[in-house]
């Protein structure tokens, strides 16, 4: 059964707080800045916010609850989103239903993380119970090894070549050079990609995201409210989420999208050919391939051929990760799960400046999060449409 449409609900106000490699500030500081930017951009007062969705790894010992008192907010609807890279899409679909059903009138969704010197290592050590018991003690040092194992298997079973992944990374870097707040300011060539320092075979330096600090945010509200405020907004045409999909697969070579893509497109009322740009979750290039396949842009196992056939810069045949994605902007913890959604919102509302894709009507966004043990558990996707 197709889920009910998000009638009368819109998403607005894309906000990115510039990323920094290391910061002495806490997550609270970055989240406060995102909220403040949301208010400034929308013209809303703090008291107008009656809903709040928060995603952060480094807010501990606080959760979204502590943040309300920390920032002096009194929302009647509150959501804490521990979904990592899938938190943006999931924040959106929950906030949209809350607004649609009247549980809240304006929901601010924010994600952000601190990155102190050595805080990345400390987070890894206690990322999950399974990671602590069965992954971290083996020296895998976080997601690099997990994704290396998935990448190696994917390359062998599909014939993907390093240059296929490299093509995506190089295109994303070209896109990033037009994006104001990227941490990577230098162009990347395919040669540089292919000859980079090995990290965890077959992954090399430019396959891995750089941890950093920063935050992202957006607002969800009724269409009437957005009109009254006079701010650009976009429609939510379809959303899906799935957790721990295909647990019987010996190794992850598909994500939850493959279970749910039909729901997504039937809710939107159109299919992959009508997608104008794609903001995927790109913490490692292999996951882009699983998203191309899982979201029906190509068939299972055929992402390498899809990459060879297409171009991914802003003016390419499939504009892809048009801000540069996490690989070229940086991964500010949970904000990485918002980066693509916030950029997609800019695109379909015509606010993407130098990264603007021409005639961007439909943006596909997807998220992927939480390598709990041997695979990522959370997947989500959304389609935003020009209003």
């Amino acid at each position: 059964m197709t889920a009910a449409p998000y009638q009368g609900v819109v998403i607005a106000t894309p906000v990115s707080i510039p990323y920094v490699r290391y910061s002495t500030k806490d997550a609270h500081w970055f989240l406060a800045r995102a909220l403040s930017a949301l208010l400034k951009t929308s013209g809303l007062k703090k008291s107008d916010l009656d809903g709040l969705g928060v995603s952060s790894f480094t807010l501990f010992p606080d959760t979204a609850v502590g943040l309300t008192q920390h920032l002096g907010l009194s929302p009647r609807w509150l959501d804490h989103l521990p979904f990592g890279g899938a938190s943006g899409v999931i924040a959106l679909r929950r906030a949209a239903r809350a607004v649609q059903c009247g549980d809240a009138s304006v929901v601010a969704c924010v994600a952000g993380d601190a990155n102190h010197v050595d805080s990345f290592r400390a987070n890894l050590a206690n990322f999950s119970r399974f990671a602590r018991d069965a992954v971290y003690p083996l020296g895998s040092g976080g997601p690099n090894a997990s994704f290396a194992l998935l990448t190696s298997h994917y390359m062998q079973s599909t014939g993907a070549e390093p240059a296929d992944f490299g093509k995506l990374c190089v295109a994303q870097r070209a896109n990033a050079l037009r994006f104001p707040s990227t941490l990577f300011k230098k162009p990347l060539t395919l040669d540089e990609y292919l000859n980079a320092r090995p990290i965890a075979d077959p992954l090399k330096l430019f396959d891995c995201v750089m941890p950093c600090a920063g935050s992202e945010g957006f607002l969800v509200m009724g269409e009437d409210r957005a009109k009254r405020l006079g701010i650009p907004y976009a429609r939510i045409l379809g959303t899906i989420e799935r957790h721990n999909a295909f647990p019987e697969d010996p190794i992850q070579n598909r994500g939850g999208w493959a279970m749910d893509q039909d729901h997504l497109y039937s809710q939107a009322g159109f299919g992959p050919p009508d997608i104008d740009l794609f903001e995927a979750y790109d913490d490692y290039p292999v996951i882009n391939c699983l998203q191309f396949e899982g979201l029906g842009l190509c068939r299972e196992g055929e992402a390498p051929a899809f990459i060879r056939k297409n171009t991914f810069t802003i003016d390419g045949s499939l504009p892809f990760n048009t801000s540069g994605g996490q690989l070229s902007v940086g991964q500010a913890g949970a904000a990485g799960g918002f980066l693509g959604l916030v950029q997609a919102l800019r695109q379909v509302t015509g606010q993407a400046m130098k990264t603007q894709v021409e005639n961007a009507r439909h943006a596909l966004v997807s998220g992927f999060g939480m390598i709990n043990y041997d695979r990522g558990l959370c997947t989500g996707a959304a389609i935003l449409g020009r209003a």
Binding site: R132, A134, L138, G142, I199
Partner: protein
């Protein structure tokens, strides 16, 4: 193929001492239960009592039926290597000193995927081809269970693999102190360590005017050096630590006084004191004198210091009333060994406790068989070090009593009345 281990070159005194670091050691309680079986040399996976589901990592409920009645089932470790990576970078100090590091995903015959270290002789993983391997569970340097996949069949120099050696304490090329080289057990231990390729075996000799048969031959074995050691005398222990403490890689404390008395059949405390003086205080003196240097050298060469072995007794767990004071001294030593293990843990020095049943020597003449031959005990000790096991219960009596003790210590207490 694994390169054969070479004898460690003499230490360059100009280079700074490499301080031991450990792999991450935090675990959930369910994982600690798994570690406990690994410490005793078993490889088990969690299994659901109600539906038989096998699962890993350890959980609090069954993934298939949500039952909380979880048990542990021995598994073969057979499986297929489905993917691998060579890690060039780690955030943890311990692994930064050990990259590049091979890790793999293995699909076990039981239908679960496990992340493992990969032995260097495992063939390269292929996505579309079955690459059989044998997964083993070992204690890592932090004393916690970790998995390593070995090639399907044995290869030359297999035990010399770099990561496998992190999890084991093979005596090959190591310098070993046997605190009592004179007793039947001591002589067997000296011979077993020489046979296992130890670089030096120091055989402790107390009361040198009393030399039993066989000791002369043992002391003439290659690589054996007799050293004076009176465990009752703090100065003797300190003197020996001063001369060889900075070289010992494995210390085997087998010295003991063993008399066969309960409480009522002998007046006074002298015998009991003599037992405590060697069996308990002897261990304490050794630990204070030899412990610090052993800890300090745990990462300082390709063949660093690695283990401390205590020969205890199965009667440390449940007293044999006919040898009550001996049992009590071994129980005291057992308790102290747990503190020693905790203090050695920070350096990754493995404390191996050996709980034999009656050993076939002069003090068990009136006990019926089966009794453990000293050579069998020595062999079990060397095997425990090679396997990286923490507690062993060698011999039929020890196995029998350990099983009963695990089932119910209280029932065993009554059964011991008739032993």
């Amino acid at each position: 193929m694994t390169d054969a281990l070479k004898r460690a070159a003499p230490r360059n005194p100009i280079l700074p001492l490499r301080v031991p670091t450990l792999p991450p050691g935090q675990r959930s309680r369910a994982a600690l239960r798994w570690t406990a079986s690994v410490a005793e040399g078993r490889f088990e996976l969690q299994s659901c009592h109600d539906c038989g589901q096998i699962q890993y990592p350890p959980r609090d409920a069954c993934t298939n039926c949500l039952s909380i009645r979880l048990t542990w089932k021995p598994v073969s470790g057979r499986g297929d290597l489905i993917s691998e990576t060579l890690l060039h970078h780690s955030n943890e100090l311990y692994y930064r000193a050990r990259v590049p590091l091979r890790l793999g995903l293995v699909r076990l015959a039981e239908g679960v995927t496990v992340l493992t270290h990969l032995h260097g002789d495992c063939p390269v993983a292929k996505a579309n081809e079955s690459i059989p391997v044998r997964v083993r569970a070992h204690l890592d340097k932090a004393g916690q269970a970790a998995l390593i996949a070995l090639p399907a069949t044995d290869t030359p120099n297999m035990a010399d693999d770099r990561m496998l050696r992190e999890m084991t304490s093979d005596p090959k090329f190591r310098k070993v102190l046997i605190t009592d080289g004179k007793s039947a057990t001591g002589q067997a231990l000296v011979k077993a360590f020489v046979d296992a390729g130890a670089d030096i075996v120091w055989a402790g000799l107390s009361e040198p005017w009393k030399q039993p048969p066989g000791f002369d031959a043992i002391s003439k074995l290659p690589n054996v050096t007799v050293v004076p050691l009176e465990l009752t005398d703090p100065r003797s222990v300190e003197d020996l630590a001063g001369s060889i403490g900075g070289k010992v890689d494995i210390l085997v404390n087998n010295a003991e006084v063993h008399r066969a008395h309960g409480i009522g059949d002998r007046r006074g405390t002298e015998t009991a004191r003599a037992e405590m003086d060697i069996n308990y205080f002897g261990l304490l003196r050794l630990a204070q004198s030899f412990g610090p240097a052993l800890r300090a050298r745990a990462a300082d060469s390709a063949v660093p210091s690695t283990a401390w072995v205590n020969i205890l007794s199965i009667y440390a767990l449940s007293a044999l009333p006919g040898q009550g004071t001996f049992s009590a001294s071994k129980a005291a030593a057992f308790s102290l060994s747990q503190t020693l293990r905790s203090e050695m843990r920070g350096a990754g020095i493995r404390v191996v406790n050996v709980f034999p049943g009656p050993i076939d020597d002069e003090w068990t003449q009136t006990l019926p068989p089966p009794k453990l031959a000293p050579a069998a005990l020595a062999k079990a000790v060397v095997k425990a070090l090679k396997d990286g096991v923490e507690d062993i219960y060698p011999g039929d009596v020890a196995q029998d009593l350990f099983t009963k003790w695990q089932e119910s210590a209280k029932v065993l207490e009554r059964e011991m009345w008739d032993q």
